[in-house]
């Protein structure tokens, strides 16, 4: 999987790296020290292009290492002190299905519209 900007505009904003964990297929975010974390709050936010490129190389290593697969960038914003992906699809990955908020992580309010 090549490190391509799959989502988001060129306007400087915050990005994170999302991926799937191999063993259980769960959504994970790149964290510090090469860790992959379940919660979007604990992942690393990338604010500069050179950061992003370096971090994606880290992610590629984790792919070769059979820990994760399909890493890509997502745009996030901070609203009310909480991180949210800007795209609905990525928000669903981060927080769970909108129709089963009892299964979601973070208890995010699905009635909030994403711009």
């Amino acid at each position: 999987m090549s490190p391509v900007h799959r989502h988001g505009s060129r306007v400087p904003n915050m990005q994170m790296i999302i991926a799937s964990r191999l063993t259980d297929g769960r959504v994970v975010f790149l964290g510090d020290g090469g860790a992959w974390v379940d919660s979007i709050e604990c992942g690393v936010v990338l604010e500069k292009e050179e950061d992003a490129a370096r971090r994606m190389s880290e992610a590629e290593l984790a792919v070769t290492d059979n820990r994760i697969f399909d890493p890509y960038f997502i745009d996030v914003v901070v609203e009310d002190g909480e991180r949210r992906p800007t795209k609905v699809r990525e928000a669903i990955r981060a927080f769970g299905p909108s129709v089963r908020t009892d299964l979601s992580a973070g208890g995010w309010d699905w009635h909030v519209q994403i711009r």
Binding site: D24, G25, R26, D70, V88, I92, R93, V99
Partner: protein, 557 residues
């Protein structure tokens, strides 16, 4: 129901062990994701938005209570306490772990259930009429042929890397509840002029981005040649099907590209060559499998229409339920009962582990331990004694499985959509929930009558929106969720694909649009006309006017 013999058990056990080994090779990196993906798909394991999703087969919709209890157990032990019944007589689990999958499959194998070829570019689950063996209008029980096809297609070495997926459906009734015209191969049992039972063979049907109704490739085929003929169709497809473009790879594309006559020529040539081969179905095997589908021991009962009428007159709710959810059985004194999984606000097809266990118990008590799964994401009990209808109804009401809406407005069929599926571009389940909450008045449901609504969250059409009386397709318009409506689709023996109504609507307008269509129908319809009949008589204009005309009061976007 079919029961595995030692050979069936062995094959399934071997396939589970093969997957166990393949998972190990993937985890150690010996197999890349690209190499592993088709292998896990051939065991029904997808990668979706949240985790691995496992699709489990319910062959031709037949399920025993023991199998249903196992589904409940799997939901608890390996998932988040529920499963989802699909439009192809399968069940799906959304939070499966790769490392646990071999054990999960081994557990399913204990009750003769598999996920073999529920995905991948191979022959998928063979689907059929959920009333098979029981419907009054049936010519012959198709399930023996479904089982023969299932065995023929499982781990078929020549056809495991087809250009694309391949779906086969079989009906034994002229009233087609299996949607054979919408399948890659459709098989319709009927009598030839000499009064012999055989198959009309259809090819090239399918939905997705380019929907097609199937063509008749052969008017009548002797049952003993079924496997040879299917093999010839598959072989021509394997060789000639397009492999240059994933969206042009189904058999429907190549059949329409070369024309049915040319396709038939190629198939008939290969069929002539192989018809006398080992594929000819031996009578002994036909008899062996048929024995499993022999009708159960029925009591000698009479139709109790008088008593039932009295019960119905005394209880409006029971009356509505019988009117909508109960169907005629071959055998006097018995009925077919449909369990609606579409209570208001429910996600269509979803069922909790507890509900599954409860249904298994009811099946044992009231319907000879068997459950049927159908294409509209509902279940059926096909051997209920009429004298027990009222008691059963009360229990189903307690479980919220008795909403009187089968094939009516709030019996919405819906794919998992963007909430679960990585292919989707919109969320379909909230639309279904809105509709089922909007059309909550059961008297209105009865007044409107037969009315199918199907929702797909993307062009792949897993919600079968092309064949809904109203089809609803989610589209992405500038990052917002919009919905395109089609009218006049139908999946039965008079199959038709829906016509586009007009520009896509924002989600909040969908219930009102449907309301407007229904109102127009009630206004225009003639005596005895279902919506589909009225639509076919008057065309789309009145409905366009109702939804988009200037007089329409619209919800604020």
């Amino acid at each position: 129901m079919y029961r595995y013999d030692e050979f069936d058990h062995k094959l399934v056990a071997e396939r589970v062990e093969q997957l166990r080994r393949q998972v190990k090779r993937r985890m150690s990196g010996e197999l890349t994701e690209d190499q592993f993906k088709p292998l896990r798909l051939m065991n029904g394991l997808y990668m979706q938005l949240h985790a691995y999703m496992l699709r489990v087969n319910v062959p031709y919709g037949s399920l025993s209570s023991a199998q249903m209890r196992k589904f409940a157990h799997v939901a608890r032990r390996y998932d988040k306490g529920f499963g989802h019944f699909t439009t192809r007589q399968n069940i799906q689990y959304n939070w499966i772990k790769l490392e646990e999958t071999p054990d999960l499959l081994a557990e399913l194998a204990e009750v003769e259930v598999t996920a073999i070829q529920s995905s991948g570019n191979c022959v998928r689950n063979i689907t059929s009429d959920h009333y098979a063996g029981r419907a009054k209008d049936e010519l012959e029980d198709p399930r023996v042929y479904c089982e023969l096809l299932r065995q023929y297609s499982v781990l078929n070495p020549e056809f495991s890397y087809l250009p694309r997926k391949f779906k086969i459906a079989v009906t034994g009734s002229p009233h087609d509840r299996a949607a054979v015209a919408l399948h890659d191969i459709g098989l319709r049992m009927h009598l030839n002029e000499a009064g012999q039972v055989g198959f009309e063979v259809l090819v090239g049907g399918g939905q997705g981005r380019t929907p097609f109704l199937a063509h008749t490739i052969r008017e009548w085929l002797e049952p003993e040649h079924l496997l040879s003929y299917v093999e010839a169709i598959l072989r021509v497809y394997n060789i000639h099907g397009r492999r240059d473009n994933i969206h042009k790879a189904r058999i429907k594309i190549i059949v329409n590209q070369m024309g049915i006559d040319r396709y038939r020529e190629l198939v008939e040539a290969d069929f002539e060559r192989i018809r006398g081969s080992a594929l000819k179905i031996p009578q002994a095997e036909l008899d062996r499998i048929n024995a499993y589908f022999a009708p159960p021991e029925y009591e000698e009962l009479e139709d109790i229409s008088g008593e039932l009428a009295a019960l119905r007159a005394a209880d409006e709710r029971f009356d509505r339920w019988v009117g909508a959810n109960v169907a005629a059985h071959k055998v006097p004194g018995y009925s077919i009962v449909n369990l609606s999984l579409k209570a208001p606000g429910r996600a269509p097809g979803d069922m909790t582990a507890d509900a599954m266990d409860a249904v298994a118990d009811l099946a044992d008590r009231y319907s000879m331990g068997e459950i049927r799964v159908n294409h509209r994401q509902n279940l059926s009990f096909v051997d209920v004694r009429q004298c027990e209808l009222h008691t059963l109804w009360q229990k189903l009401e307690g479980l919220e499985l008795a909403t009187p809406n089968i094939n009516r407005l709030s019996d919405v069929v819906c794919c998992p959509g963007l909430d679960f599926c990585s292919l989707a571009n919109s969320r379909s389940i909230p639309v279904a929930q809105d509709l089922s909450r909007h059309f909550i008045d059961v008297d209105k449901l009865a007044l409107v009558g037969d009315f199918t609504i199907n929702i797909s969250g993307c062009m792949n059409a897993c919600g079968h929106h092309h064949v809904g009386n109203i089809g609803i397709l989610g589209v992405d318009k500038r990052g917002k969720e919009f919905f395109q409506l089609t009218l006049g689709g139908s999946s039965d023996e008079g199959a038709s694909l829906g016509d586009r109504l007009g520009r896509a609507l924002p989600q909040e307008d969908v219930p009102l649009a449907v309301e407007a269509i229904v109102a127009a129908y009630l206004d225009i319809r003639e005596e005895g006309e279902r919506f589909l009949d009225t639509y076919r008589r008057v065309g789309i204009e009145p409905f366009k006017e109702a939804v988009y005309g200037p007089s329409v009061v619209r919800a604020v976007a």
